[in-house]
Symmetry: C2
Subunit: 232 residues, 2 copies
Amino acid sequence: MADNMLSFRGFESEISSGQPLEEMIYGIMKKAIIYGRIMPGERLTEASLSEELNVSRTPIREALRKLAFVKMVEIKPNKGATAAKLSPSDVEEIYTLAAILEGAAAQRAVEYMGSDDVEKMKAYQSQMKDAAIHNDYESWLDLNNRFHGTFVHKCNVPSLIELIRERIERIPYSWFFIVMRPDPLKIYMEAHEMIIKAFLKKDAELVRSLVENHITTNSQILQGYLKKIKII
Amino acid sequence: MADNMLSFRGFESEISSGQPLEEMIYGIMKKAIIYGRIMPGERLTEASLSEELNVSRTPIREALRKLAFVKMVEIKPNKGATAAKLSPSDVEEIYTLAAILEGAAAQRAVEYMGSDDVEKMKAYQSQMKDAAIHNDYESWLDLNNRFHGTFVHKCNVPSLIELIRERIERIPYSWFFIVMRPDPLKIYMEAHEMIIKAFLKKDAELVRSLVENHITTNSQILQGYLKKIKII
DNA sequence: GAGCACTTTATTGCATACAATATAGTTTTC
DNA sequence: GAAAACTATATTGTATGCAATAAAGTGCTC
């Protein structure tokens, strides 16, 4: 391992790219949490992280506090940090807010979307069908992010986009694959079709309610599976 | 000054109440920003704050980073922190989100509001009229917070409540007094009346749109004055 | 053996020292 | 005199040491 590399559970980051250590550690640990290399509830002592990352406790403390802000770790004064556990109600809240926020973003986006944007959404949608047929779930997920990103980024409210991203990031990456079964996928894709049509009609209120329902439905399906396979 | 007191520009906080210094500093500085004791754009060097607060740089750094998270200060790597300036578009965004979030909270609250809650809102509303007549704007503002808080806290989504509070806190306290003139107040109070009626009808969708419009209208009125008196 | 005081250990909170970086000022060069 | 190179200063970033707190273990009392 080159000594100008920050390495943590398979994730790496080059030191001395102008970015402070604190931010790099924040980024690398966030990834580790999203991708399950840090398990929920895992105790994160400053000393052990310090050793694992080969840096002092100072930037680690600051990274942990940032992670606490986005609720990925929980810090109790004088007791320390643990990777956050997502309770059923946490999951529900995350999606409740995601639905509200993304619905609002979509509503606002109607005004700013060009026909090229809707075309992009159509293209993603058709590519998603292909990906689903070939069981290429990785691509499917990427395309889905692009689909949603297309209108979210057109809402003209940067902080709203940020809030939406913050919610989505709290969902472990692996969970997105849980719902990738024929029936949920069918429901999912049909919702996208309706959303596309609503954007074509430029019916902002319809777009809002469709997007909100789309996310809520998906949330309920996910929560059902999570409960059934005893993840939460 | 007792040496177990943390003092900062007129605000004080007792040390050794179990709370870490970092949090106390965060709280005290947040107040100082909200109440205008720290001016927007003011440079906040760790050393000067350290001297002013009689603590080391460490808890100050952590407090500054927390404040950066709620966008009350801006931190540039290797350059340091400044008290955030609210640009016209920042103000617009804050209120845009506040309207979305509080509208959603209100909509959800309809289900959980008891008739006693609506009675409370009516009571606050009538007290606000009195306060307005006697030009007791301080009380008016407090009652207004209670009025809004009544339904916001009934939305059953704690993180939504938190997000709303975070937006409101970014508005300098003094600004709330700017709009306290006869015409805006009349519009404001009429909106409240309509909101109360909508809650009585338990019409969630109507409540949502009324609350959203109420906040948006208020925002536009405030922004108009801010521009006229050249605050932003 | 359960409950309690005491001691030990682990860990965070805070303070401080040093290193790295950015800024301002100064000199040098043309 | 303007631009560039250098120097000095201020400030943040990081490492480390010590203090305060919490948790775990130990022995004592009954």
